[in-house]
Amino acid sequence: MSDRAETTVGRVAPPTAPHLVCRGVKKRFGGVEALRGVDFEVRRGEVMALVGDNGAGKSTLMKVIAGAYSGDEGEFFLDDQPVTIDTPYDAADHGIQIVYQDLALCENLDVAANMYLGSEPVHDGWGFLPRILRPLDDLLMEKKALAAIDRLKVRTLQSVRGKVGGLSGGQRQAIAIARAVGADSTVVLLDEPTAALGVAQTEQVLQAVKNLRDAGHAIVYISHNMADVFEISDRITVLRHGGNVAVYETAQTNTDEIVVAMTRGIDKGAPNAA
């Protein structure tokens, strides 16, 4: 399925080859087959929406791509080069960043610490120590964190020195997003990033996603909100019961068709499936 012809192009998606390609990704949790051989791809400068019912396997697929779970089977390609993603560090090295559905923040740490958790900058000149024992450059962290949050325009968050435990759901979401876009990345995976947000903040996140897209990032956007999906995406991948249903050009489909595909699946030769 992954080598289908990429001829029909949406509104803004540039007609380029896919940046990230996954083939035949499988993942079992004990008796549950969460992913049964999923193909997935996303181009640079494109927002690929990923939709499906609860339990369809969307989050699991994202976690496998981000290295948080290692898939049981499956191949990954970045710009046609095969890559292995076994740990979150592998994913980060390949420029893959993720905002988890449950955010995965540490409430006992401050905002800046959360944003650089696992990739803290350290001071130069302590080469004789293993990296994890070198002094943190926490002022640099604070500065970069402030800059990343400024770019997202979260006006309610003034200091990055407060503990995350004291923040609202929307502020936490903003931090998780700032964390993902603050790092050097080419692929950004957003798992229901607006679930906890008000109308204004949702607009901000959608705008941030558009900015990232225009900057040439490859973006995967998971949401149950069809209005958002249709506003922001260039293509839509539908999953059902851990398998592919189809990939649609957003401009050439509509909400009803997607909802039907999500809930009932489609016949193989459905006319609109790209």
Partner: protein, 407 residues
């Protein structure tokens, strides 16, 4: 540690606090890095003031000297235990580990005639091995730390008895080992150390402030900046003055502060420290950013083992003997855990500081010492310690926001 920054945060939060409830204000104060010092410092001051009035001898330089020495073993082990508490784990075998290491060291020195420093080194390595072994069982097999270290406690108690043999106690006369707790620095050296300590602290604070200005980050208020420097200067100079008016600053106090400073730095200012706090705060988040939860856990238990062994050596030196009851069989374990918790380290993981463990040890030591002076019975001492411990845990639970929906 950056107390300057923490004071500032605290001051900021208190300024904002005019519109919020006392409960929230209390939580916020405890959340700030320096604010966590507050309750335990207050407890210490209250205890000292109370015994200072009822038993004037309590505040004499001689008694302070003894107080510091008495609290050293508990403090050393409490500092180690704090590191695993940060992960949300517990170590019930620390005192027994301490006992085994002390016993081995004593046997090597007394019965084998080994050179003191070498015997100490071997004991320290043994402590680390004992700690990491338990850590591996916890991290890789997945047995709760409570169970592993409870078993370890029993096993190590037995091991200690085996090593001590039929005598039940071994006397320590080795000059090196005894020297750890008997040597006091000459007064001039004590003053010099205090001055260097304050100067280094001031230099770091000021340089940090300068860097904040250069980078364009929000600055600490001058009151907080110079206030913290002045606070530490007064503290250090007062401590040296007091100790110098008896026998001088004990070498042990310098060693203990040095080790705590090192561990304090590791836990707050290195990526490894961040791992400890992250795993304690949200293990799944830590795992997802690529932190090896298992290796972090093993390392933390290695550190308790290390500190337990050092505590064992200090104890052997101080009591001039190694006996079962002074370590594994006595109240040492509960006092050390109590000290860490009284210091404000959370039993739920993710919050705490090794410095506070030292203060907690001083609280427990002061209570014991003061009650001894006032001729209280063993029964009174136990009940007092219990009440203080309960109070500390209550403060911990409250500051977790028990009334705020469990967040």
């Amino acid at each position: 540690m950056q107390p300057d920054q923490a004071i500032k945060t605290e001051a900021m939060q208190i300024k904002k606090a005019s519109t919020i409830s006392w409960g929230q204000r209390f939580v916020m104060m405890r959340e700030s890095r320096f604010g966590a010092f507050g309750p335990v410092l207050l407890a210490l001051v209250c205890i000292w003031a109370y015994f200072g009035i009822t038993e004037p001898v309590f505040l004499s330089p001689r008694n302070f000297y003894n107080l510091f020495m008495q609290s050293a073993v508990v403090g050393t082990i409490a500092v180690g235990i704090t590191v695993v508490l940060l992960l949300g784990d517990i170590d019930l075998s620390a005192a027994a580990t301490s006992g085994v290491c002390a016993a081995l060291m004593a046997v090597l020195v007394t019965n084998v005639g080994m050179w003191g420093p070498l015997a100490c080194l071997i004991a320290i390595v043994l402590g680390i091995v004992m700690g990491t072994t338990q850590g591996m069982l916890i991290a890789y097999i997945g047995i709760p730390s409570f169970v592993v270290t409870l078993a370890g406690n029993l096993g190590f108690q037995g091991l200690m008895l085996k090593i001590l043999g039929i005598h039940g106690a071994i006397n320590m006369r080795d000059p090196f080992v005894r020297g750890i707790t008997t040597v006091a620095l000459p007064p001039a050296l004590g003053w010099a150390l205090a001055v260097v300590f304050v100067a280094v602290f001031a230099w770091f604070s000021l340089r940090r402030q300068a860097r904040r200005r250069a980078i364009g980050l929000e600055l600490d208020t001058p009151t907080a900046l110079y206030g913290s420097i002045a606070f530490f200067a007064v503290l250090a100079l007062a401590a040296v003055w007091t100790l110098n008016s008896y026998r001088g600053v004990p070498l042990l106090v310098v060693l203990l502060i040095g080790m705590t400073a090192l561990l304090g730095w590791v836990t707050t200012s290195t990526p490894f420290g961040r791992m400890l706090f992250a795993v304690g705060g949200n293990q799944e988040s830590a795992r997802r950013v690529g932190i090896s939860v298992q290796r972090t856990r093993v390392a933390a238990f290695g550190i308790v083992g290390l500190m337990a062994a050092i505590g064992g050596i200090v104890g052997a030196s101080r009591y001039a003997s190694v006996s079962f009851n002074a370590f594994a069989g006595g109240p040492l374990l509960l006092e050390a855990i109590g000290a860490a918790v009284i210091g404000g380290t959370s039993l739920f993981g993710g919050r705490g500081s090794v410095w506070n463990a030292l203060l907690g040890a001083l609280v427990i030591g002061s209570l014991g010492n003061g009650l001894d002076l006032s001729g209280a019975s063993a029964a009174d001492k136990l009940m007092f310690s219990g009440a203080i411990l309960l109070l500390a845990v209550a403060i911990d639970a409250l500051s977790r926001g028990g009334g705020n929906g469990g967040r």
